[in-house]
Symmetry: C2
Subunit: 338 residues, 2 copies
């Protein structure tokens, strides 16, 4: 495989960000060959904007396009489950936006199908594909900060959508970022203790949420996510011998401070010269590259964020939902036969 | 009352710090007239060091000294209860080191006795007497940062004693500092939800502890305290319109940043000229001054940290102990008739 042929499911802002980033990559490695959305007009406009050959007015048609190798699913959270199922049914590789689904049983089912089908299936936890995260894991495992005792993360944005119908809320829109960082340090096993406090709006969506996780080895992690305040985007990892922190954005980390020394991880020069930093989320290039690398190697998941991690995040979220009274079941009353 | 005559119960390092600070205050306002400790030799050495006229080899003798107006209780946590009871029995005013006691029922009993006796009785939450804390409360109540949604505090020190026999552990040695800050913002009412995760050592003492408090109005506060890592001493208060943070030490705050602007609260020039900043805890002067002001006004508690706040801290700690399996009851098996 020289070129990886992308299909884009969705035509909203995150698809826009992803397509813009992919278009900065060499076209002999990454092409976007089709886009599908519920609205054919929006799909066509999107196709025109990004010079994409095919557009479809449904996800099903996209799934049936034989020229598509991998589908990027960038629809709203509440539809990831059904759109992924469509793509997997056609044996497409899939990169699906985080959070993968709103229910643990849906996450389990999608991973089971993907593994049966032997296609590459990846939750788009783009933070993990930044070079800084590789360095983070190396530093933690080499003992650079000793035994990690405390992790504190605050990630808040005032801009997010607070609508239950699309599966928003801070848990599903922001919560996975601190969770993945905690797991990058503590590993993919379930924590021993999960505690959550949240405030919900009248629509039943969490606006501010605090989660504490305690691991068997004694590490205790605290995270706060909120739509009501902003913009803290901070993380500290405290060990017995030192501290790792992200002085600017932890979730799209270009800088990381280890025991007082800050290291910067710039984008490749060739992409910067091609205008990468003019797009909204240049960091999306890392996950597109990772997907191609994995598929070329015949992997079914990225070792940088595994199915086990997706399942653990989903199981933690299930318990958090229970504790704070967050319930999205009714969104699926007709969708999966209940 | 021109001069407030202090007695010091205890001759350990915190009593040393307190006496050193008081000796920088004008002697016509604050004198130290006696010291008592279990060991007469240590008491005498302490008396000599700070030019104190009387020393006793027991707390009881100190309590009976008619020249003592107010007793500073600076013994180990596990003995505060019995030493305070001795002093209150002799109608002395009392300033007792935090944390006041290890059991809610002991805290309730001491406050009941003090209120019956109509003496001034104060938990030595010295943070609260810093000018920055007055400004903090003014700023929060005037809406400078809007509605407070999240409070995040990390307070860790590697130097602390980890012995159950003296009532140490991060909850009782460090935990009150973030708790008092949270209550300075959220008020003295009990939170609606209390969650705690802690790791205990073989002696049953908590080494790292995370507490989450959720208040009726929606504020969620998270705090971490630890003896295993250090020295984070940080606090952020996030509101819908802005942020207050303590850029250096939150627990002995000389600087406070409100919406990006840092204000400094220096010690009075006269005390600085008298060498105040050469003592270990110059901030102790604020609580000594507050005690004198309150006693002069006939107050039985400081409005800057009230009995209600002491009771709420104690009740929160009782629930935290229950959740993490921290138990100090056996320290009192013979002490109070159980």
């Amino acid at each position: 495989m020289a070129v990886l042929r992308w299909g884009i499911a969705g035509a909203g802002s995150i698809c826009d960000d992803f397509a813009a980033a992919v278009r900065k990559l060499p076209v002999q490695e990454h092409d976007i060959v089709a886009v599908g959305a519920r609205d054919a007009g929006r799909a066509a406009t999107f196709a025109q904007k990004f010079n994409i050959g095919k557009s479809y007015g449904s996800y099903k048609e996209l799934s049936e396009d034989p020229n598509v190798d991998v589908v990027y699913v960038g629809t709203v959270n509440s539809t990831h489950y059904e759109v992924c199922k469509l793509m997997l049914a056609q044996n497409k590789h899939v990169l699906c936006e985080k959070t993968l689904t709103l229910l643990l049983k849906h996450t389990q089912e999608l991973i089971r199908i993907a593994e049966e089908k032997k296609v590459f299936f990846q939750e788009a936890v783009w933070s993990r594909f930044f070079p800084a995260y590789r360095k983070l894991r190396d530093q933690v495992s080499s003992g650079a900060i000793g035994d990690v005792k405390s992790i504190n993360i605050t990630f808040c944005k005032k801009i997010a959508v607070e609508k239950r119908a699309v599966g928003s809320g801070t848990l599903f829109s922001l919560g996975i970022y601190p969770l993945q960082l905690i797991m990058a340090v503590c590993g993919p096993e379930m924590p021993e203790k999960i505690q959550a406090c949240g405030t919900l709006n009248a629509d039943g969506v969490d606006l501010t949420l605090a989660i504490t996780l305690q691991y068997k080895n004694g590490t205790i992690a605290q995270q706060t996510t909120s739509f009501e305040i902003g913009p803290p985007d901070e993380a500290q990892i405290y060990g017995t011998k030192g501290t790792i922190s992200f002085p600017k954005k932890f979730h799209a980390a270009m800088d990381m401070t280890i025991n007082g020394t800050t290291e910067t991880f710039p984008f490749p020069d060739s992409l910067v010269q091609n205008g990468l930093q003019q797009v909204k989320r240049p960091g999306f290039v890392y996950q597109a590259q990772e997907v191609r690398d994995c598929i070329q190697k015949g992997l079914l998941e990225s070792p940088r964020f595994t199915h086990q991690e997706t399942l653990t995040v989903s199981a933690i979220m299930e318990e958090v939902k229970r504790q704070i009274g967050l319930n999205y079941d009714s969104l699926y009353e007709f969708g999966d036969g209940h």
